[in-house]
């Protein structure tokens, strides 16, 4: 295949390949890059999900009888790493951020289109490298946290490939973060103030600040860890005078904010979806903006709550308890505002709305257990147990993944010009919601009663609950089938969506579906009230904007 590229001297046509081939090219179009992120991320989700399935099969019996113990540890390490670094972070940020942000700020592309393409094209090779490490000499087996000395003492090849892969993915995140900040701050259409931007822009601005501040710390940490592995330095190796706790501080300085890097964009996406399908303005725009920034600030000063059992001094435990618990305040504001957005609306119970409301319910439970985990005495008992596994999955699956599905149902007509089948979508939601809760809700009990996480074998008294959990996981796996069928069926035979099937006011809907290369054939519309539903002059405003 020969792909020729025109120089990007602000020519309207930025790429040569057309049709599906453009998605396999070094396209500079933000919409193509957004969909590249989305499809690539989904492929990795299927791989990470299969690994989760293998974990759940192993855990249907108390003995380690489905796979060798080393392989189990490799599988759980790959599962965590793939789901975080190759699925959720790239999709909630890269996919939807790239697709939507230029529309929302009234720009024709991202600030640095080439950097944008580089950021995406770092992902497939990093992911493939990570997965192939399994077949070379065994993948990394020290968990996605890679705590030394375990990560130093396990076979080096897989661990080094893991480090390299995460470094490249971190680089991709940083490139993306810089691009989003520059685009939101500098490429806004004249006349568009920050406080008139759709909420997803604010979420992406906050997320990008977190990415740019915290990811380099992870990169530096992993480089030091690789020195310890290959050059036998002693940064973290206690047998050479190193300190393992220092690694934990540095690692969590990134990896706690990483949770917000996964959920803040999801908050932003939900804030776009709820008003449209409730036909109501987003409630409390200003407090929503301040709550995002509150989460960003607090998110940077709570990392040590992952280390309450590591031997942290009392003052540190106290500070991090209070700081962590206080994140519940800005998060609570957002949840109350979303419910207030629903209140008094004219709600369409379509697939996008169901997944968003499912997200609210799941995330409330995840948030409540999060506040509990912030309390040192509580955490001391359940740290590193299935209670944490349950809490974490309620945040990242019940939160972020539910929002990803909601967003796909919502923006699919914009991506493709076709509608998804609503009945299949609702069936997908019901299977996912039941499967997810059946899988993870019982794990709270497992953790409280004494089952540690990351074990291939466990006390037989926990077998029944683990089997229930595995049935839930099976339902979640099955729920992917109607979704995939729906997507392929709709792309090929779906009903034409028209430009604006939801009758929405946000700018991406004020152009054709799918949009032209530089987003609008004429001048970009100036949307000053992206949530002006219920306004009597709605149609008039919309016309003016066009």
């Amino acid at each position: 295949m020969t792909v020729s590229l025109k120089p990007n001297n602000s020519t309207p046509e930025k790429l040569q390949p057309t049709g599906w081939l453009k998605y396999l090219s070094f396209s500079l179009d933000h919409k193509v890059i957004g969909l590249q992120y989305l499809v690539c991320g989904f492929l990795f989700y299927l791989i990470g999900g299969s690994l989760a399935g293998a974990i759940r099969v192993e855990l249907t019996s108390p003995l380690s009888d489905f796979m060798p113990r080393e392989v189990y540890n490799q599988v759980l390490t790959l599962h965590g790493t793939i789901m975080i670094f190759l699925w959720i972070v790239p999709v909630v940020n890269g996919a939807f951020g790239n697709y939507l942000i230029p529309f929302y700020v009234g720009a024709r592309d991202m600030a640095f289109p080439r950097l944008n393409a580089v950021a995406f094209w770092l992902i497939p090779p990093s992911g493939l490298m990570l997965i192939t490490s399994y077949f070379i000499n065994g993948a990394a087996q020290s968990g996605w946290t890679a705590y030394p000395p375990l990560s130093i003492t396990t076979p080096a090849a897989g661990q080094i490939i893991w480090i390299l892969s995460v470094l490249l993915l971190g680089g991709s995140s940083i490139f993306g973060g810089i691009n989003f900040i520059a685009t939101i701050i500098k490429l806004r259409r004249p006349g568009l103030k920050l406080m008139q931007l759709p909420m997803y822009c604010w979420a992406m601005l906050g997320t990008s600040i977190l990415v740019v501040l915290s990811t380099p710390v992870l990169a530096g940490t992993l480089i030091l860890l690789s020195f310890d592995i290959v050059a036998h330095t002693g940064f973290f190796n206690p047998s050479l005078g190193g300190n393992v706790i220092v690694y934990q501080h540095l690692f969590w300085f990134y990896s706690h904010p990483a949770v917000y890097i996964m959920v803040l964009p999801a908050f932003g996406l939900v804030s776009e979806i709820l008003p449209i399908h409730s036909r109501k303005p987003l409630f409390g725009y200003t407090t929503m903006v301040f709550s995002i920034m509150g989460i960003v600030v607090l998110g940077l000063v709570v990392w040590a709550h992952h280390m309450f059992t590591s031997g942290t001094p009392p003052w540190m435990r106290l500070f991090f308890t209070i700081a962590t618990a206080f994140i519940a305040v800005p998060t609570g504001i957002k949840f109350f505002n979303w419910v207030a957005t629903l209140w008094g609306g004219k709600i369409s119970l379509n697939s996008a709305m169901l997944f968003s409301c499912g997200f609210i319910i799941n995330f409330v439970l995840g948030g409540i257990t999060g506040v509990a985990l912030a309390q040192v005495p509580f955490d001391i008992h359940v740290h590193d147990t299935y209670f944490v596994v349950a809490h974490f999955h309620y945040i990242v699956y019940g939160g972020s993944v539910f929002v990803i599905f909601s967003s796909i149902y919502h923006w699919f007509p914009k991506f493709t010009g076709k509608m998804l089948n609503e009945n299949l979508g609702r069936f997908h939601f019901i299977l996912t919601f039941i499967g997810f809760n059946l899988c993870f809700a019982p794990q709270h009990w497992l953790g409280l009663n004494g089952m540690p996480r990351r074990v291939a074998e466990y006390d037989p008294q926990f077998q029944l609950i683990n089997q229930i959990s595995s049935v839930g996981a099976l339902l979640m796996a099955l729920s992917t089938l109607p979704f995939l069928w729906n997507v392929f069926q709709s792309i090929l035979y779906g009903h034409d969506a028209g430009d604006n099937p939801w009758n929405a006011l946000t700018p991406e809907w004020l152009t054709s579906s799918p949009p032209p290369v530089e987003n609008w054939d004429g001048e970009a519309p100036l949307v000053l009230e992206p949530y002006g539903y219920g306004n009597k002059n709605l149609n008039k405003t919309q016309e003016q904007n066009k």
């Binding site: 113990r69 080393e70 540890n73 020290s142 705590y147 000395p149 375990l150 003492t153 206690p238 047998s239 300190n243 393992v244 706790i245 036909r279 109501k280 987003l282 409630f283 409390g284 725009y285 059992t309 031997g311 001094p313 009392p314 003052w315 435990r317 106290l318 308890t321 209070i322 206080f326 519940a328 305040v329 609570g332 504001i333 419910v339 207030a340 629903l342 209140w343 609306g345 004219k346 709600i347 119970l349 409301c357 319910i361 409330v364 439970l365 409540i368 509990a372 005495p377 001391i380 590193d384 709270h444 004494g450 540690p452 990351r454 074990v455 291939a456 074998e457 466990y458 006390d459 306004n535």
Partner: protein
């Protein structure tokens, strides 16, 4: 009408509050409590469970009610009410969680203090190492380490060595080495823990205690068992392929039985 809705709100809040308390006291998800720390921990757990149940059921009910009550009926067109915010409402739902969180934080601080977590550590990582050759950290439940390390203490000193994939206990008095932890009921135990290889974690769910066992970092963990019996010791930190199999037992004996065990296993002449 506003009066009616105020009464309804008040009534549903009351039902929610009572329901939350009922759930927290009737859904017991914790194993038996067997140390002095456990009942204190369980008290916090119940308070968190009450608040959590109220919040979760309340929010879920609100979402489901909204979806049903405000759903778009067939043939219905148009938008919902044009309501962009309400300052007093927003202040209300900022202030209430802030107060709740502050209460929970202070309450758990009190619990933590009662569990022994806030006692000053003589050799913690904040630097008061003095001329000590060995830096020792204190886990939760640690008493003043200088006291517990010395022979004057009333606590029973035991040394724990964790390694892939076993816990080895050493009793300085009697020079006993054991793969199981034997302790007398009602007596404070001072466990000095160290790892030979990677990070492990010492966890007894029935004691509500967990502390990482860190290579190069001796750590003291104090606890007092309150119930005779046999409880699992679980490694809670991923430590390698056999991590799931790294389990042992703590056998809490009556004092006489414990003395007998010591006598039978002691290498020293009594």
């Amino acid at each position: 009408m506003p009066k009616m809705s105020a009464i309804l709100t008040l009534a549903s809040s009351l039902i929610l509050g009572v329901g939350g308390v009922w759930i927290a006291y009737n859904v017991d998800m914790l194993p038996v409590s067997a140390s002095t720390n456990a009942p204190v921990y369980d008290e916090l757990y119940r308070v968190l469970f009450i608040i959590g149940s109220i919040l979760f059921i309340g929010m879920t009910a609100l979402v489901i009610y909204s979806l049903i009550q405000f759903r778009r009926r067939p043939g219905e067109t148009g938008d919902g009410i044009d309501l962009e915010g309400n300052i007093s409402l927003e202040i209300f739902w900022t202030a209430v969680p802030a107060i709740v969180v502050l209460f929970v934080g202070l309450y758990s601080y009190d619990i933590y203090d009662r569990m022994g977590g806030m006692q000053p550590l003589m050799h913690d990582q904040s630097g008061h190492m003095g001329n000590q050759a060995e830096r020792v950290w204190g886990g939760i439940g640690s008493g003043p380490i200088e006291t517990s390390s010395s022979n004057n203490s009333s606590s029973l000193p035991i040394e724990l060595t964790a390694m892939q994939f076993a816990f080895i206990f050493h009793y300085p008095k009697g020079d006993i080495i054991s793969g199981e932890l034997h302790v007398p009921v009602g007596k404070e135990v001072s466990l000095k823990m160290e790892s030979k290889d990677v990070i492990h974690a010492f966890w007894v769910p029935q004691f509500r205690l967990k502390q990482d066992v860190i290579p190069g970092q001796p750590t003291i963990l104090n606890f007092t068992p309150t119930k005779a019996g046999n409880f699992p010791i679980v490694c809670a930190e991923l430590c390698g392929p056999y991590h799931g199999g790294m389990r042992s037992n703590v056998i809490v004996d009556e004092q006489e039985d414990f003395d007998t065990w010591i006598r039978e296993n002691s290498k020293e002449t009594i």
